[in-house]
Point group: C2
Chain length 372, copies 2
């Protein structure tokens, strides 16, 4: 019997698995984030790293035995040390980065071998959530919808006409309605809009930010993957079949590099049949750049947000990160970003925070890849 939309979302019987794709360097947080020590490994807003806080947040839904992290080889040791409760075999190490499609596809195929009935959720390792209770409530609603066979996205209620994110449009069709929230059938995914369109999205109340938070039955997802990306489906199924056997490394090394790079968003979700979305407000941020990180740090009465000791004269709305605790003195600055690390120092106009990537590209081109 299919549950009706009015059923409670808290009666899940299937085991829930959490997947944390830990990719991406967080280049716009250079010079703090580096290839060798990307954003998700950094303690930016808490004593613990973004990855650790993400795992903490999911603990109530999935025990460490049912939590998988997918990461690159360069970060496997750091992931293992930051998450000591995670079994070794739950750290899936990609031979090379191919995007979230292969990463999440492999995780789904491995989970399906353990437990064909599982519901899984995938949540980026480097986002911040100020209201974890709201996050958990949304995930529970998403799980209830997933159990009905929907591929579910948790969509963030937009707080500004953001042009840097993709959106999900919802319909009025309620898939799950519970005290904790509602899952709607989604009308579709839309790409990053221009400013005018973003303002219309915000005004409509029907568009949610896509933060790539997905919940589904692995069986539902793998069926759509087989239909939409058959080559990828065959590949991850082959690797998963060898997983935990003596052939694991050989098969992974042979098959992985042949998989087509893709994201789950474009490869599956944008074209899947039964897509639902759970609108949620959870104090979410992708901690994408120094402007955004500054907005999350506590600021003084002049709007200056500082990590580390500062003194200032006539300085406003600036962001300072002094990693080594060195004193930063500011005079007559407005809307500045200052990031102090042992081997590189960034001074930027805060309104240009998104362009930090250009500096990193310059460095790489100038033979200073050691600093990237």
């Amino acid at each position: 019997m299919m549950p009706s939309p009015n059923d409670s979302a808290s009666t899940s019987l299937r085991p829930f698995w959490a997947v944390i794709p830990a990719g991406g360097a967080g280049t716009r947080l250079w010079p703090l984030s580096r290839k060798a020590r990307p954003k998700f490994l950094l303690p930016l807003l808490d004593q613990r790293s973004l990855l650790q806080v993400t795992a903490d947040r999911l603990q109530e839904l999935a025990a460490p035995e049912r939590t998988l992290v997918v990461c690159g080889g360069a970060h496997a040791a750091a992931v293992a040390r930051q998450l000591p409760a995670l079994p070794d075999e739950n750290i899936l190490v990609e031979p090379c980065p191919l995007g979230s499609g292969p990463a999440i596809g492999l995780a789904a195929a491995i989970i399906a071998r353990h437990d064909p009935e599982a519901v899984m959720g995938s949540f980026a390792a480097d986002h911040d959530v100020r209201d974890p209770a709201a996050f958990l409530a949304a995930v529970r609603v998403a799980i209830a919808a997933a159990e009905q066979g929907w591929l579910v996205t948790i969509g963030l209620t937009p707080s500004r006409p953001e042009t840097g994110y993709g959106y999900i449009e919802r319909t009025d069709e309620e898939v799950v309605l519970s005290a904790e929230g509602t899952a709607f059938r989604a009308a579709g995914f839309v790409e990053k809009p221009d400013r005018e369109r973003a303002e219309a999205y915000l005004a409509s109340g029907r568009f949610l930010w896509n933060a790539s938070m997905f919940v589904w039955r692995t069986a539902s997802f793998l069926a759509e993957l087989a239909r939409l990306q058959p080559e990828l489906h065959v590949g991850v199924t082959r690797i998963a079949a060898a997983w935990g056997t003596p052939e694991q490394e050989t098969v992974l090394a042979e098959v992985w590099p042949t998989l087509p790079p893709s994201t789950v968003d474009v490869g599956v979700m944008e074209r899947a049949e039964r897509i639902a979305v759970v609108p949620a407000e959870m104090g979410w941020s992708d901690v994408g750049d120094w402007h955004g990180l500054g907005a999350l740090l506590e600021s003084d009465q002049h709007g200056n947000a500082a990590h580390g000791p500062i003194i200032q004269v006539d300085t406003t709305d600036s962001v300072v990160w002094s990693d080594a605790g060195r004193l930063v003195a500011l005079l007559g600055m407005n809307n500045a970003v200052v990031v102090d690390t042992p081997d590189a120092l960034l001074v930027a106009d805060r309104s240009r925070a998104q362009e930090v990537r250009a500096l990193v590209d310059l460095l790489a081109g100038a033979g200073r890849g050691d600093l990237t």
Copy 2:
């Protein structure tokens, strides 16, 4: 026979002594300059420190045996090591700073005991001169005037309506006229002017910047000191009488703290009888703040002057000093100052460079005097 104004300036017979008052912290160059390592000890524009370059510049006129440095006890060792050719006894160590009046007064009294007929010149330890030949020519003209009994100032031909310096007004009366330059009788010293007055000074062609470069017969100077500051004259004469005897330290410790603090400019020159000025252009700078130092450093086509490695995107007219050679990355900055030292980092609007002192005061008040 008094030489006529048309005599050559190059026929000095009296020995010339050079005095280098090495006081002042150069607070506006914080965080590079510190109380313990003031501006004059720093290699800012050359491989050698401003003090070393000052001594080098004077070498042609005065051998090390006839060069005196007056400094504080905290800097005596550094001065001795930076100027190895200077005899130990030529480093006069003030028990406490009292301004240039007592410092130069004591030096004059000690020189007078060695050589009552001496001509001496006093030149700050922390100024920069891009054209040393022009400097030497001006000093030779000043010496010729000094031999006639004038108290001579070398005045810098102003290049802008500067409100931060005092000025000397010249008359048309030529005291010395030589191929190397002219000494004029001075009409008087004037305090730092307002903007309007500074522009009038610049337009007149009769006002020179006072950089406290003085040349005189010690006898002439001491006679004026006795007349204008009798208490100071008695004090330095008493100390000089004990100089080189077993009582030197006792007398210095007893008398020095009783001397009235003063500057030579205010205490003597502004009220002296026979004042002359030698106008000169020598590419002079007092290297007073980061804006001024930036103007002396080589800059790229975007107007950025850097000491140390930088990369930049859309950054103009900025000054960067990276003392430890750490990379400084700049994005979208204009007219910024960035000074990177091991324990403190300054980021300032270049147009506020003069106010760096306020940050240093703040630090001292906040119990971080260790960084000043």
